[in-house]
Point group: C2
Chain length 403, copies 2
């Protein structure tokens, strides 16, 4: 595709206006929103308001006066249409890892006599680490194709990442939930690489439990609070294994014994960072008035264009993601020799993706701020860097602390 | 004491300069820094730098370029002199509740055959809730005077809050640690109401484990990240029961099995909020160049002055804190009739303390920003509000959501 053709796609893009909601640097093609979402224009002022006008001026009274106590519920209402759940089924706070520990512990408690957490080989490491440490549980991992057969009556919970962090392979949520339920197991989704880029329907798929990350496609900022989902019907039957004061039925009664709040609030533990939550609020606000179906459609169009352009220009890169856009999330990964220095050279040229062990370059597409011209320009730069062997510069071979 | 005498004390106060480090509103006497510390002047710019210059401009590269990956260690080094520990014994992140769950779970693992967590009746509720939920553990609570007798060989860990959130009664850290160790138990301190106002010596007291809050005297902002302490000698023997990717020996190798990082880093779970950590960094910076011994000395002088002024002017208020400043932390609590509307009337007059069930008014003294004139003026206003029965206005009887 020519640059002019791509520009015509951008001009006709119904989501094109959303890029103005982001403060992206000039001369950068940012294809790493699946790792850290870009900065929304509104974030700095939103956070400054919390710091100056709320904390600074009204101090402790802000819990009531500025609704800090309702902040998690406010964010849940903004997140609800993005993940296809009810606002009263979502809780925002803590990290994805901690939320996983809460829901896995709770799920095990609901399936006495079953102790297996079934997951996929190659699932995101933190999911496996947390699952393996759930007291009394046994973690079992199998290849994606073997999940159905592994759903025995020992399995308490099937824990899957909806979009794989490396390959971008996506699970069919409804089908997997059906299989888990048929085996008497609960299904827990990790939506970290899906939420904000893929059209999710937690309610319609019958899902029981989910967690997800706030700092990828949700644009909440580095280390933003994560979220968890518990389907309404299960909420009062589940016990939070990390029951802090925030999840008590009457947090300000300071009772010596724990009585869980009704509903989703019982999954609160300690006090969330109000400042970090304010930044996440600005991140979620970048989705305002935008249908998630349009986001998914644009994600597929972007990734298909990039895939085709790379296929045409860069035979050195072997697609390691599903070729069918309906079977993957919003990023693409390619295997190639010298993947690490290649990515460093691309970053030096302003095309920001990332490297994943052992030989993968990964590019993410954020429909709110990436455009079609960027796809063609990025693929052109990849081809140039390969042709000129720019990546062979020793400075690109030096490993950074964070890759 | 007259206002002029109090002003003379302020003029001679070696810590008087520190108030300029805070952006306190005019016409407010803020005596609730034990619940939410005041806003430091530097916070807004520090946070804006992280948002604009780091996240906004350098995006994902900030993990290396701006040292986000070392942020917890940087904060630990700032916290170390405040709590009397080594920087390599402290980890900043997560909430106090989550950190408690980590350390209690780890401690139980180190004392096989012992399953009792011993604590004090009336300890801060979240501590008791989290302890009661530790898998395999039994929580036992006794009055402070009965702790020594309750330290049987069933006790794995003695969990105490160093300064009680209601009474301000303070435990002698060295004596308690000695008693716990003599019984073969570990000692876990909650320093939430101590850190930043009391001279702590974690190292010298022989303490094993501790947690503490970032948003009280440490001025990190609402819901700021908390901290945990593990004495060097125990670090490699303890297993984090919430082992997220951040605590892995090689977090970016994405290995399927967990291998804990050496040292304190293994207690990391997920990714901390970089924005919330930046705010906490500005909070910790308010202690720069200030000896914690001077802070404790001023805390005692402030609280003694307030105690004496209230005793002289307000016989309706019965001191419910230890009368000896060496046996309490940096706040005072008084029992009185109509405590709830009294505190609301005081807040309306600009004297901000808080109410605690069932009949307590609580006033905290933050040596970095409170002064002696404030003590006399606040006590005068309390006396006026009592004398005029201002608290009898119906609007002061209406319970807010957060008290």
């Amino acid at each position: 595709m020519t640059i002019d053709q791509a520009r015509a796609l951008d001009a006709a893009d119904p989501l094109g206006f959303a890029r103005q909601r982001f403060a992206l640097p000039q001369d950068v093609i940012y294809l790493d929103g699946n790792s850290l979402g870009a900065l929304p224009v509104a974030t700095a002022a939103r956070v400054a308001r919390t710091i100056h006008d709320e904390w600074g001026r009204d101090l402790i009274a802000s819990w009531n006066k500025h609704g800090w106590i309702e902040q998690s519920a406010r964010l849940a209402a903004m997140l609800a249409p993005i993940v296809g759940a009810g606002a009263d089924e979502l809780l925002v706070g803590d990290s994805t890892s901690i939320n996983l520990a809460k829901l896995l512990g709770a799920a095990l408690g609901l399936r006495p006599g079953r102790r297996v957490i079934l997951s996929e080989t190659g699932n995101f490491p933190t999911d496996l680490y947390i699952a393996a440490a759930v007291p009394g549980a046994e973690l079992r991992t199998v290849a994606a194709g073997d999940i159905a057969a592994a759903l025995t009556d020992e399995v308490a919970v099937l824990m899957l990442t909806q979009v794989d962090y490396r390959s971008a392979a996506a699970h069919d949520m409804a089908a997997m939930t059906h299989a888990a339920h048929a085996a008497g197991a609960l299904l827990l989704w990790d939506l970290s690489h899906s939420a904000g880029a893929v059209q999710l329907d937690l309610a319609g798929s019958g899902a029981d439990l989910a967690v997800g990350c706030g700092y990828k496609y949700l644009n909440g900022g580095p280390g933003a609070p994560a979220f968890l989902f518990v389907v309404r019907a299960l909420q009062d039957a589940l016990a939070n294994p990390l029951p802090g004061w925030g999840g008590h039925a009457e947090p300000f009664a300071f009772e010596p014994a724990y009585r869980p709040a009704p509903g989703i609030a019982r999954f609160t533990s300690g006090t969330p960072s109000i400042i970090a939550m304010a930044a996440l609020e600005a991140g979620l606000a970048t989705f305002e008035g935008i249908d998630i179906a349009a986001i998914e459609a644009k994600s597929r169009a972007l990734s298909e264009l990039f895939r085709a352009e790379i296929a045409a220009r860069c035979p050195e890169l072997a697609l390691a993601s599903p070729a069918d856009p309906a079977r993957r999330g919003s990023h693409l990964v390619f295997a190639c020799p010298n993947a690490y220095p290649l990515m460093q050279a691309l970053i030096a040229r302003g095309v920001i993706g990332d490297y994943r062990e052992p030989n993968l370059v990964r590019f993410g597409f954020a429909p709110l701020y990436n455009g079609f011209e960027e796809m063609v320009r990025a693929a052109t730069i990849v081809a140039e860097v390969l042709a000129t062997r720019e990546w062979d510069d020793p400075r690109f071979h030096q490993r950074a602390k964070v890759t």
